[in-house]
Each structure stands twice: as structure tokens, then as C-alpha cells.
């Protein structure tokens, strides 16, 4: 059985390693600040006792005030999983660092978020629309999109 790593167990460790990496009140659900995202992600992937080497999915949710980007990781070796999240603010040009350097599986999924939510991923090797065509106006999975 894949055991979900409790947020409380890992949050303290991350806080000591990267002070101020969490958004306010974000320790309970591992809400990481966007500028600490890559440090935290690399730590989760590379620490031998964590070793979250498998990215299950990355997706986004539109909460109007911000886009929440959700990552779920699994450690195949320890059979444990973890969910952490981060927020991209603004509706005109929200951006987020890309995790494709750590998990190549994020490639198409980040393109999908870019296409359907309009969140741009900096450092993505080939960031362009994936399902809709070039020149399509708007991002359909946004809550305020009107087709």
C-alpha cells in the first residue's frame, strides 16, 4: 500500500532546510512559495530517505485569485507518496518555474496547463499550446472563460 507521507512529518524538515519556503499557513498542506519550488522539489527527489523519483501528475486548479499548481510524487523504492502545491498569482501573465529538469514526465503536462490555464512555465524546453491550435484566444479551463 502506498503510504501518503504526512505533511507534518516533512514540513519541519523543509522549513529548516529552506527557511521561509512555505506560504503563510501553508505548512499543513505543503503550499510552497513559487520561488522555492525548484529547491524543495529537488530536495524531495534527491534525498535518499525520500527519493520521490516518480511524478504521478501535475495539474492546475483555478481559484480566481490564483492558480494552484498541484504535484503528486511517488517514491517507487519506499512506496510513499506526497502531494505538494504552489500558487501562480495574476490572471494576465501567471508564471511558474518548470520542473521538467527534475521529472521529464512534466513536459506534456506543463504544456497542457499552459494551453488550458495560461500559466507559463519558465525553463520549459518547448512551451507552446498542446491541444488547441496556435492563435486560439483564451484558456478554456479558466473559470471565467466563455466559449
Amino acid at each position: 500500500m502506498t503510504v501518503a507521507l504526512p505533511a507534518g512529518e516533512i514540513a519541519g524538515k523543509l522549513e529548516t532546510k529552506f527557511p521561509g519556503c512555505f506560504e503563510e499557513g501553508g505548512k499543513d498542506n505543503l503550499l510552497v512559495k513559487a520561488d522555492s519550488l525548484l529547491d524543495v522539489a529537488a530536495f524531495l527527489k534527491d534525498q535518499p530517505d525520500l527519493k520521490f523519483d516518480y511524478l504521478n501528475y501535475v495539474t492546475a486548479v483555478d481559484y480566481y485569485a490564483y492558480f494552484e499548481i498541484v504535484y503528486q510524487l511517488t517514491s517507487l523504492e519506499h512506496n510513499r507518496s506526497i502531494v505538494f502545491r504552489t500558487r501562480a498569482y495574476g490572471r494576465d501573465n501567471p508564471t511558474m518555474p518548470s520542473v521538467t529538469g527534475l521529472w521529464r514526465g512534466a513536459d506534456f503536462q506543463e504544456r497542457e496547463i499552459f494551453d488550458l490555464f495560461g500559466v507559463a512555465f519558465t525553463g520549459h524546453p518547448n512551451l507552446k499550446r498542446i491541444f488547441l491550435w496556435e492563435g486560439f484566444q483564451g484558456h478554456p479551463l479558466r473559470k471565467d472563460w466563455n466559449g
Binding site: 504521478n56 517507487l76 498542446i130
Partner: protein, 373 residues
Amino acid sequence: MTTTQEMTLRTEPFVVNFGPVHPSTHGVYRMRATLDGEVILDIEPVFGYLHRGIEKLAEERTYTGFIPLTDRLDYLASMSNNLGYCIAVEKLAGIKVPERAEHIRVIMAELQRIASHSIAVGAFVNDCGAYFTPFLYLFREREKVLDLFDMVCGQRLTYNYMRIGGVSQDIPPEFLPALEKYVNHMTPFLNEFEFFLKQNEILLARAKGVGILPNQAAIDCGISGPVARASGVNWDLRKADPYSIYNRFEFDIPTGEAGDCYDRYRVRVEEMKQSLRIIGQAMKNIPDGPVRADVPHIIRAPRGEAYGHIEAPKGELGFYLVSDDSIAPYRCHIRPCSLINLTALREMVRGWKVADLIIIFGSIDITMGEVDR
């Protein structure tokens, strides 16, 4: 007068477009391949020809009303899609499924795996040059699975059979005898099928050592299902994170070593045998009782989020649901194994020839309905 100097062939890379309507792409998939002669330098996949915005449609439907749309994701494995979605909603709303329904679900999911792998293996050996003979033998056997599905829900492709908290209706009395007959027939058939192809010179020459996906690359790219297991990643959600009642059954997880096209083919054939084992145990132990939990017609899930995933025939199929305490999901993200399994295609085909591209792509086994959603 021409000199030998002028006679040498001048080559330059050129771009060939495969698809979106091309028999080798098994759907409306398109690749832009850059070739040097016959050798592939690079490919760029182009998606979206079957994009229907299913995730957006989910936000406008009740939880139950979305089940028919899941049929249209991986339309060769609709039962598995139903199951994955229902498990996610049950997790979100905290619904317990009755025992009899769990057994029926397992039987359906494993029959579906056999049907899906039949097409995967059949189409693959077809691409290899065993033109249509093995494919049609497998199609004939798949037809029998469709007959069984027809018996329980009246549909042959888009079943809409599972419900949140169980299944839509009980299996008819003639189902279990028919299922037993099918299992007894299918086991020797698979052995025979394998015997004919195991030593086949052409299949070995075209598939062995071709399109290798190394173990580490499979994990990095988030590859799941038979493709990952063929590369030696011993990861099957039925064992690693057992859902439904899979922890009660005895079965093995076949894995490959080389991670080539032949291993992917072999893993699928072995998995079909293991599925028959599971079905045999499930139908022996199926209890009487209700087939659906007592849930309201319109489900209102409490505020929160849940991720439910299953081992679908093609890999990890997951549904990430966010509820805002209304009758429809606030967000429904589908983790598409077909799309993510294509991540590694580029590095798998580089340096191979055009004819190999078709085989390597075929050995991944995707359905465009799930890639584009």
C-alpha cells in the same frame, strides 16, 4: 561528361508528416519526423485532433452524469475508465462499495485488460509484418469479451456500467457460466498464440533490441503500465497500492529486462494470462448481496480533494477531483497514461529507421481519446 564526384548522392534532412490520418498512428495522432534518408533524426508529436474538453465538461455535470464521458477517454478500455473515476469519487465522498459489486468490478476490469491487450498485441504484430492473421485471431477472442459485456450492460464499446458505490445492475444468471466457459477456452488459446509467435523469425528480428527504453528513463518520464514494466520497473498499482479488493488475489507481475519492443509485447501476453487467473479467483468467491451502495441519485461531495488511481490496461489512470460542496466537481483532472507514456517516444526512436518508428510507436499502445481528452 559527368564525373564520379558529381554522381555521389547529396543528402539533407527533410521533414515527413505522419498522420493525423494514417493507419500506423492508430488514431488521429500526428508526428513530424525529421529524417536523414531513412534514419530518424527527431520527431515532434502533434496532439489535439480529438480534444473535446472533457475536463471542462465534467465541471458542468453531476458526479454520476460524468460517467458516460469517461467511456470516451480510452475507448478500448471503457470499463477501466468507469472504475477509475468511480473509485476517485468514492474516495472523495467516503462511499463504501458492497462486496458483490467489488467482485463484479474486478472481473470487468480484468476482462477489459484482456480485450485491450488483445488489440495492442494484435496491432503490434500487424505492424511488424504478420499481416492481419494473428490480429484477427485476437479480434475473434476479444469479440467474446464484448459479448460478455453486452450481457451485463447491453453495450459493446461504451459501457457506462459502473456507478458510484457499485455497478448499475446485477449480472444476469447466465453470465457466470458463460464467463467460466470463456476462461477455460482462453487459457489454451493464449498458450497456442504465444507458441506460434515466440519463435517467429520475423517478429524477433523486428522487435528484439528495437526501441529500447532504459529503466531510469522510464521512471524519469513518468511512464507507467506494461511499457514501464517491460523496462524492468516493477510497479503495478494492483500490488503497489491495491484498490478495490486486489489484495485478496494471487497473481504475478510480469516484467521485462531489455525494455525493447519484444519485452513490451511479451509483458502484455503474460498480463493477459494473469488476468485470467484473477478472474478465475474472483468468480469462484463472488458473494451474494447488493451490487450498489445506498447512495443518493445526486451526490454532493464534501469540500476537499481526492486522487483515485487504478492500473488501467495502458498504465496509471488517475482522477484528481476537487469538490466545493456542490453537485458537480469544481475541477476534474484526468491523469492520462496514454499521453504521458508518449513522453519518451522521441528518445526511443532517434537513430532508428522509419519502419521501426511504426513498430516502436505501436508497442507503446495509446488511445487518442485519452491523449487528447
